[in-house]
């Protein structure tokens, strides 16, 4: 029985995505009424408000238990459950932080209304990604999230780095979209359905094992691109480095989380490992991906001399940690493994966004990009540097915030599932990462500046965003209980 829009009150469950879409439209409307507007308070305020309201609605729905039973819409093409709401919360938090920070970052730059509406549109796409329950909606929402991102990376049209990064991102993105779409068509060819649940029930492993296997691996490749996992990670350092820093924050936190949201749902729902293991053992594939991704990301990060690039590679490393959420499945500890990955994504959303926004702050000051340029920054801006220190130590996994907790859960869950070697690789990588994260801290606090270091301004928006992210990172530690409960709940609704 097909469910039309408005059947019952179920569509209210889509409220976060609807709020975001409306916000984007209002922003476009503002831009059409007064083209080239640079009313920054209005634009940033509207988009932040939209993100905050969408996030608040998601929290309300979570608290009221709306997602405990999966709500299926549009003939099951979209689904609202605890997991999609949890991820919506991640996207909207990051979006809100990015919009607040962009208030200062976009000062005096062209295309402001476009910038904000693209950010909100991308956020809408991400939210839909988390809701997608059919390979068709997965593809569409993925493109809705990706296309604005390409434009956003290249939005500094006069900046060669930005344009180059946008082009590179776009080309690799287009390629991986093609791979992904081809994978979908192969899966459709074998199973005759696009909706994830039906794909699973129509799986006939004996019929066309080779085609199904290739299809699943190609779909996996599409996700590897979105989450910046090896071997589709090459675009990430370039794009993150060239993009405006708030956009780097947006892509490396929210966009990555969106990729994981789909990956979790698609692989668990459409390709139950028990059924497809003989054809394509994707758990094994994710194990290999996880180990290579975290190791490569961390080692590459350790050799960088630009802070933003270091963060870009470290973000690849963190994708590797989160991949444990798929790689350690089938160990009898599935809810904790996947829940741990989700918790890490939420905490990561704050600490990584905060770190990139701090870089936006530094770019705004006109201090350079290398570690040496950060020397002595703490003497000029101690409070922002405290926030950055919080981000760095949390990313490294020191227990002064929730970063330690989520890593501990993730690795502990992997050990509990019998994949102690995955946890061991993760722990060693994590220990190594302290080396390069503490380089930033050392530069800011301990080193003396080489020349005269002047900081021209204290941009309110950026400060607010950075401090809010830092506060959230730290406060999530004492308040970890609801996060853990929700994430486990989300994993349970998904795993069924």
């Amino acid at each position: 029985m097909a469910q039309a829009l408005g059947a019952g009150a179920d569509w209210t469950a889509m409220a976060p995505a609807i709020v975001l879409a409306l916000t984007a439209l209002v922003l476009l409307l503002v831009d059409s009424i007064t083209p080239d507007t640079s009313n920054r308070p209005l634009l940033a305020g509207l988009s932040t408000l939209g993100a905050v309201v969408a996030g608040a609605v998601a929290v309300l729905l979570l608290v009221s238990g709306t997602g405990d039973e999966a709500i299926r819409l549009y003939d099951g093409a979209l689904v609202v459950d605890t997991m999609s709401l949890f991820f919506t919360l991640i996207f909207t938090s990051v979006t809100a932080l990015v919009c607040v920070a962009s208030y200062d970052y976009m000062k005096g730059r062209p295309y402001q209304a476009e910038f904000y509406s693209l950010v909100i549109l991308a956020a809408t796409g991400m939210t839909l990604m988390a809701n997608s329950n059919s390979l068709a909606t997965v593809f569409i929402s993925l493109e809705l999230a990706s296309l604005p991102s390409y434009a956003l990376v290249a939005i500094l049209k006069k900046n060669r780095g930005s344009v180059e990064a946008g082009l590179k991102y776009f080309l690799i993105g287009a390629l991986s979209s093609a791979i992904f779409a081809y994978g979908i068509s192969l899966v459709y060819g074998v199973t005759g359905h696009l909706q994830l649940g039906r794909v699973a029930s129509n799986l006939n492993v004996e019929a066309l094992p080779g085609i199904l296997g290739v299809g699943v691996l190609m779909v996996l490749g599409g996700f590897a691109f979105k989450t910046a996992s090896v071997p589709f990670h090459f675009w990430a350092p370039e794009a993150y480095e060239g993009a405006p820093a708030p956009i780097s924050a947006f892509l490396s936190s929210a966009s990555k989380a969106a990729g994981f949201a789909v990956a979790f749902r698609v692989f668990v729902t459409a390709f139950p490992i028990g059924d497809v293991a003989t054809t394509v053992d994707w758990v094994l594939a994710f194990q290999i991906l996880a180990v290579i991704t975290m190791t490569l990301g961390n080692f590459a990060a350790a050799t960088q001399d630009k802070v933003k690039r270091m963060l870009a590679y470290s973000s690849i490393g963190h994708a590797g940690y989160v991949l444990i959420g798929l790689a350690a499945l089938t160990g009898g500890n599935d809810d904790w493994v996947m829940g741990g990955a989700m918790m890490h994504l939420l905490v990561y959303g704050f600490m990584n966004t905060g770190a990139f926004l701090f870089i936006a702050l530094v770019e705004n000051w006109g201090v350079g990009r290398t570690f040496e340029d950060y020397n002595g920054l703490a003497t000029k801006a101690p409070i922002a540097c405290v926030a950055m220190t919080v981000f760095m130590f949390n990313l490294a996994g020191l227990p002064i915030g929730a970063g330690f907790m989520s890593k501990y859960v993730l690795f502990g869950a992997a050990v509990g599932a019998g994949f102690w070697w995955l946890a061991a690789v993760g722990a060693v990588n994590s220990a190594l990462s302290l080396f390069y994260y503490s380089r930033v801290v050392k530069a800011m606090w301990i080193e003396e500046p080489e020349g005269e270091l002047t900081i021209r301004s204290t941009p309110t928006g950026l400060y607010v965003a950075v401090l809010a992210a830092a506060a959230a990172t730290v406060l999530l530690l004492p308040a970890f209980s609801p996060v853990a409960d929700t994430a486990i709940n989300a994993a349970l609704t998904l795993l069924g």
């Binding site: 904790w336 227990p399 002064i400 502990g412 722990a427 050392k442 606090w445 301990i446």
Partner: protein, 515 residues
Amino acid sequence: MMIEALLAVTLLSAFVVFLAPDKVAGKLAFVLSLLPLGGSLWMYSSFEATGAQGNALLGGTLAFETMAKWVAIGPYALNWHVGLDGISLPLLVLTTVLTPLSILAAWTPVQSRQSQFYGLMLFMEMSLLGVFSALDFFVWFIFWEMVLVPMYFLIGVWGGPRRKYAAIKFFVYTNVASLVMFIGFIALVFGLGDSVTSLDLPAITTALNNGELSGLGGIDANTLKVVAFFAMFAGFGVKVPIVPFHTWLPDAHVEAPTPVSIMLAGVMLKMGTYALLRFNFTMLPGVAKDFALIIAIVAVVSVIYGAMLALAQSDLKRIVAYSSVSSMGYVILGLVAYNMYGVGGATFQMIAHGLISGLMFMAVGVIYNTTHTRMVSDMSGLADKMPITVAVFVAGAFGYMGLPLMAGFAAEFFIFVGAFQSTVLAGNTLALFTGAAMFGIVIVAGYLLFAMQRTLFGPFRLETDYEVGRADFHDVAPLVVLILLVILLGVQPDIFYGMIQDSVRDMALITGGGH
């Protein structure tokens, strides 16, 4: 809620001071640090009245205990569990006593970025208070690691010429040690399997002592115990530090500014011995007893080797730093004796050494502030120029040597009595080791007398261009307070010793190490 209030006030003070202007930061920090001091003294005075008794991990009744659900992680619940027993309360008091004094000692030497400096000092105090009061492993570990962060900055920003090297070495050494210890302990918890449902230290201790440990990943229970014991022993040993894990200590001490050295030697090293006492010796008494010989050898080597190293130094601060290695060796000796005098004395030595080493570092700091040198060969005859400082220095040195009626004497006396009586090792083996360790006192006396004779007495001579005058009141006052405390504890050890004995009695009984 008293412990939470203490932590909150200290943390809040740290923020306030961090944001305060540099000019007032020092004075503000001192005033604010009196609040936790007052709090801890109040807790000390009402400790008896709370009915606290016994050892926190062995089913004792705790003072100011709070237990609240925090978060459930997999099969293991993490709880906010804090409380004090007779072992942790003295260390808590020691922390709050030393912090205001070391803040006073910072007024003269710290002349840049004061608000950050004092903010970090208070933040460190908060973390240390957390370490000594937490009873859930996870909470405890968070505070344990939190101590590293301010220490890293305090050495790295305000330290001497090689501060960056020293700060990184300290950070890496102790952080790797924490990782080793963490893995050891978690392996133990996983090995307990279903018999524990939380990371609560008393619950884990009970389960371990009831022999509920099963193997883990193909390793049988006995091997797991031994592996976990030594992972934790190495992890904590770095912090103590025991030979051969001691090499970060002189670097950190020499480069750290005086007030930081005071906190480092006075409180932070005690984290190591406190954790050894709580984890290794309380949770795995069987293993500790089986390997008592090795531990005793480590203790004696630390005592003698540390003292010999101190003897070879020509920098006053290095002399005091290496002598810490030696003094902390006595603590290990007391622990391994496993009876009431031994473990009690070890705990008492933590307090005594905290006060005396703090005093010595402070005195060296005052001398350095005036003379701008710490080299023994650069100066002589300081006694005429700065009589009070020198008098306190001499008194502190006598305390270090274990002169009767000083805290150090009481502590070492208890340890030696315990070690002589101990039946942990067959025959008189431990007594033999004790005899060897006691020789350390002679070396201590040797190097301290030698250093004092050359720097403090004789004709005045100074090979720098600085004018030597009397130190400021706020430099000398903390020295006087500390020496008074050292004497007070020496004359009346029962201020702490009673409650310590009460708390270590159960440990002595478990292993039958004698009384």
